[in-house]
């Protein structure tokens, strides 16, 4: 009796995990590691933008020093 119950339980678990995997996600992209390229591209853009904002910040700080207009 116990065996049958556990068998049915196992069956249900396998069905539910199967149903979960049916929903299509970018699993291939993850498994072959191409997702890291996407992350690298986004990080490069982010760092580029941050670098730009940072240099602007420095420039304005220098102008503030020359003009004595600290907030």
């Amino acid at each position: 009796m116990n065996k049958i119950v556990s068998l049915i339980l196992l069956l249900f678990i396998s069905i539910s995990t199967h149903a979960q995997n049916e929903i299509e996600m970018a699993d291939t992209m993850r498994s072959n590691g191409k997702i890291y390229t996407v992350v690298a591209v986004c990080l490069t853009i982010l760092f580029g933008l941050f670098f730009y904002v940072f240099t602007l910040d420095k420039k304005i700080s220098r102008l503030e020093k020359e003009n004595n207009t600290k907030l």
Binding site: I60, E64, T69
Partner: protein
């Protein structure tokens, strides 16, 4: 302590957002699929916009209390970056709509355009757009600062009904509307997966800090430009 620590925090949080946002596991949901990761970007734009508009609102009130021209500069700069975030949120939303709401089942472009939150957000952004039209139409600086500060308070009062309250009354395709689970989907414990929350909250803070940083640069430039008026 370095007073620029929050700028470094913004960099760290956004780097974390991109790495964790792309690499960590997300719930497998039909239709949404991998686009659920847009939560870390699209939704953060709107949260950032609301925070920036709130700061702008506070400084408009502060201006009306003190008539200090700096406060007016701060209010307008934060509203400006807030609009930028809003437009980015709108554009990213359009991209997201194309693959999730307009499917081959029943939704058409017409049904999407009736989406109350889209209309509400457009109204809110146009109201803030009018704030800058209003500012631009004055030649007298004091008058401009006073009237636009009052207008900004009204604009802020319109923001929350148009993007939060009305879509929840009349129903919306966005999460949080009647029919889906109640409450704010991004803040509701039951509605947002725990692993996603661990990325979403830092992402909101990171993007908002970036907005504050850009607004800060704008404020400092405006103060430099108007130093003759301010130092009087």
């Amino acid at each position: 302590m370095n007073k620029n620590w929050w700028k470094i925090l913004s960099v760290l949080l956004l780097v974390y957002t991109i790495i964790a946002g792309f690499l960590l596991d997300v719930p497998r949901l039909p239709i949404l699929n991998e686009t659920i990761r847009n939560l870390y970007f699209h939704v953060c734009m709107w949260f950032g916009m609301m925070i920036l508009f709130t700061v702008s609102f506070v400084y408009s009130i502060k201006y009306l209390k003190s008539f200090d021209y700096r406060k007016d500069i701060i209010a307008s700069s934060f509203a400006n970056v807030g609009i930028l975030f809003g437009i980015l949120g709108y554009l990213t939303g359009i991209l997201w709509v194309n693959v999730t709401w307009i499917t081959d089942q029943s939704q058409s472009l017409g049904s999407v355009l009736k989406e109350p939150k889209l209309i509400g957000a457009a109204i809110a952004l146009l109201i803030y757009g009018a704030y800058f039209v209003l500012r631009g139409s004055f030649t007298d600086i004091d008058k401009r600062a006073r009237i636009s500060a009052v207008y900004n308070i009204f604009a802020f009062a319109m923001l929350f009904p148009s993007i939060w309250i009305i879509p929840r009354i009349v129903g919306s395709l966005h999460p949080g509307a009647p029919g889906s689970d109640t409450g704010n989907p991004a803040l509701d414990r039951k509605d947002l997966d725990g692993a996603m929350r661990a990325v979403f909250y830092p992402a909101v803070i990171g993007w908002t800090l970036l907005g504050v940083w850009i607004a800060g640069l704008k404020i400092r430039i405006e103060i430099l430009k108007n130093k003759n008026i301010i130092n009087e």
